[in-house]
C-alpha cells in the first residue's frame, strides 16, 4: 500500500503549532497528532504541550550503565588484586576498599556516560539514512511539519498547511 509523506515548511513556530493544534482537534478525519513529525532548527520549549509527552528512554540507559560500571569496576579491581593473594600484604587487606571506591566511582561515571551516548544513538535513531523530505531550510530558520498519510488525506492536509501560511510544501510517495 502506498504511503504518502507531506511536509509543510513554516516561517515560524506559531504557524506550525497552529497547524498541529488543528490536527489535534481532528479537523481532518483519520489524521492524528501521532502522525506528526516536527522538524526545527531549535527545540521549542513548549513542544511537549503541542505534540504530547513522547518520553525518552535515555535516563534508563544512564542508570543501568552507571550501576554496571560501579559493579564491574569493583569486581575488575578486586579480581586483579586477588591475583596477589599469595604475596605477603604486611597487614593490609588484599582488596582495599578506600582506593577501590575511588576507582569504582570513576568507572561508574565512565560507563554511565558511554551507556547514555549509546542510548541516545538508539533512541534518536541517529546513523540512519536521512528522510527524503529532509530540507536544509530546517537547519537554517524554517519549521517543518511532516505527516505520514493515506492518499485520501493528502489534499486536506495541504489545504490545512495553506490555511496556516505555509511557505513551501513537499511530498514523497513510498511503496
Amino acid at each position: 500500500m502506498k504511503r504518502y509523506y507531506v511536509m509543510g515548511l513554516f516561517s515560524n513556530f506559531e504557524e506550525a503549532f497552529a497547524t498541529i493544534h488543528d490536527i489535534r482537534e481532528h479537523t481532518i478525519p483519520g489524521v492524528s497528532v501521532d502522525d506528526v513529525t516536527l522538524k526545527s532548527p531549535i527545540e521549542h520549549p513548549e513542544i511537549e504541550e503541542i505534540l504530547g509527552d513522547r518520553g525518552s528512554p535515555i535516563p534508563k540507559f544512564s542508570l543501568y550503565g552507571a550501576i554496571f560500571g560501579a559493579i564491574f569496576g569493583f569486581l575488575f579491581l578486586a579480581s586483579a588484586q586477588a591475583t596477589f593473594l599469595v604475596q605477603p600484604q604486611g597487614g593490609k587487606p588484599v582488596i582495599a576498599l578506600p582506593s577501590n571506591i575511588v576507582l569504582s566511582y570513576e568507572m561508574m561515571i565512565l560507563f554511565g556516560v558511554l551507556s547514555t551516548v549509546v542510548g541516545f544513538m538508539i533512541s534518536a535513531r541517529l546513523m540512519t539514512k536521512r528522510h527524503p523530505l529532509y530540507s536544509e531550510k530546517v537547519s537554517l530558520d524554517q519549521v517543518g511539519v511532516m505527516l505520514e498519510l493515506d492518499e485520501k488525506n493528502v489534499n486536506p492536509v495541504k489545504e490545512l498547511f495553506k490555511k496556516h501560511k505555509v511557505v513551501e510544501i513537499r511530498e514523497e510517495v513510498s511503496q
Binding site: S11, N12, E14, T37, L38, K39, P41, I42, E43, P45, I47, L51, R54, S56, I58, P59, S62, A66, F76, L77, A80, Q81, T83, A96, S99, N100, V102, L103, Y105, E106, M107, I109, L110, G112, V113, L114, T116, V117, G119, F120, S123, A124, R125, L126, M127, T128, R130, H131, S139, L140, D141, Q142, M146, F161, K162, K165, V166, V167, E168, I169
Partner: protein, 471 residues
Amino acid sequence: MQTKDINENIAWAKINKDVLRSMENPRMGYWVALAACVAMIACAVVAEIYQYQVGMGPANLNWPHMWDLYIATFVFWIGMSHSGTLLSAILHIIQADWRKPIYRFAEAMTLFSLMTAGLFPIIHLGRVWNMYWVLPYVSDRGIWPNFRSPLVWDAFAITTYMTSSALFLFIGMIPDLAICRDNARGWRQKLYTVLSLGWQGDDRQWRNFRRIYLMMACFLIPLAVSVHSIVSADFAMSIMPGWHITSFPPYFVAGALYSGCAAIITLFIILRYFFRFDEYMTIPILEKTCKLTFAIAMVWSYLTLIEFASVWYGHDAVAKEALVERFVGPYSPFFWLMLFCGIIVPFALAFEKLRRHLPTMFVVSLLLNLGMWLERWMIVTPTLAMSYYPFAWDIMWPSMVQWAIVFGSFGWFGLLFLIFVKVFPSVSMYEVKEMVFHRRHYHSEEIATKLHRREGDPQPGDGPSTEGVRS
C-alpha cells in the same frame, strides 16, 4: 554602552552565515598565532629529543627533584581543563543562557588541556616507552598496577574525564555539524556528513538530545570535581611537608576553576578578534565571566590563606618550616609573585570600567594564569627542596630543557585549539538561535508580535523565510 548579552533581533540565517564564514575567513592574526604555536612546539620537540637521547640529566631532574616543572605543569593543564566542561555543565543545569555563545570553545579548551596535560607524566618518565605500565591490562606475568596509588587513580580519572568531555563536546556539536553539512562543499562536507550522524532536527532527535545533554551534564559535574581531587591526592596522600594537607582537594578544585575561567577570558578575547564575533561574544557576556572569575578567585584566596593558617596552627614543626621557607626561602620571589597574581590582580575584575576594557582584561587573564601556574610550581618544588631529612635538602632550578618543553606545551595546546576553531564552529549556532528566540519571546513581547504579525508575512509559495529579520 552595550548592555544586552545578545541582540535579540539577529536573524537566524545571519547566525549561520556569520559562524560558517568564521571557519573560512579568519583575520591574519589567526595565521600568525598558528605559526607561533608551531614554532613553540618545535622548541619542545628539540628539547624532548635531546632529553630522550641523553637521559633526564639535562632536565636537572634528579633525586630529590623527581617531579619539578613537568608535574607542576601537568597539574596546571589539568586545572585549566576544569572550567570548560564543568562550568558549561553547571550553567546548563541552572539554565544560564549567556553560556551559549561561549561554551563550545570552553569545552574544546577542556579537551585540549587534558590532551596537553597527558603528555607530561609520559615526558617526565624518561623511559617514555614504558608509559603503558600504568594501564590495567592483562599481563602474561599476572602483574597489575598498584591500585592503592593515587598515580593510578590519576590515570583512571583523567581517562574518564577526557572520554566524557570529548563526548560532551561532540554531542553538543551534532546539530551544528548538520548545519555545516548542509552548507559545506568538498572534504568538509564529507567530514560533517559523517560526524553529524544523520541529524535531521526532528522532534524525536531534539527530545532525546535534550535528555542526553542534561544527563551528561549531571555526570560531568561530580566527575570534574573528583578528577582534580584525585590530582590533589597525588600530593595530599603523601606525608611530605607542605603536601599532607586536608584542604588540598577543595583548594585544587578552586584553583582549577580559577585558571580555567581566566583561560576562558583569554580565549574569548582572542576568538572575538580573530573571527569578528563581536555580536556573539559580547561585552556583557565577558563581564559575567569576569564576575564569576572574581568570585572563584576569592574562594581560592580564602583557601590559600586557610592552608597557611592550618599549617601554622597545626604545630607540625617540619610542615611549618617548609611553609616559612616558601615565604623567605630561595623560591620566595616566585611565591610572592604567585600571591600577587592570584590574590591582588583579580581585584581588577571588580571594576566595571576595567571589565569592559578588552586589552586590560586580556592582560589580567594572562596574569591570573601566570599566578595559577606559579601556584603549582610552588606546591611541587619547594617541598621537594626541603623535606624531612636535611641531607636531602637541595635547591634546584629548572634547566632549559624543562623550560622548552613547558613552553612548547602552550604551543601544542594553542595549535590544537586553533585547528579546532577553524574546522568546527566555535560558536554554537543552534544554541545562539535558542537564546535569541527565548529573549525575543520572553523579554520583548512587542518585538515578537511585530516580527510574527507584520505586513508581508510569507505567503504559500513565497521565497525563503524571514524569521528573525529586523522589522
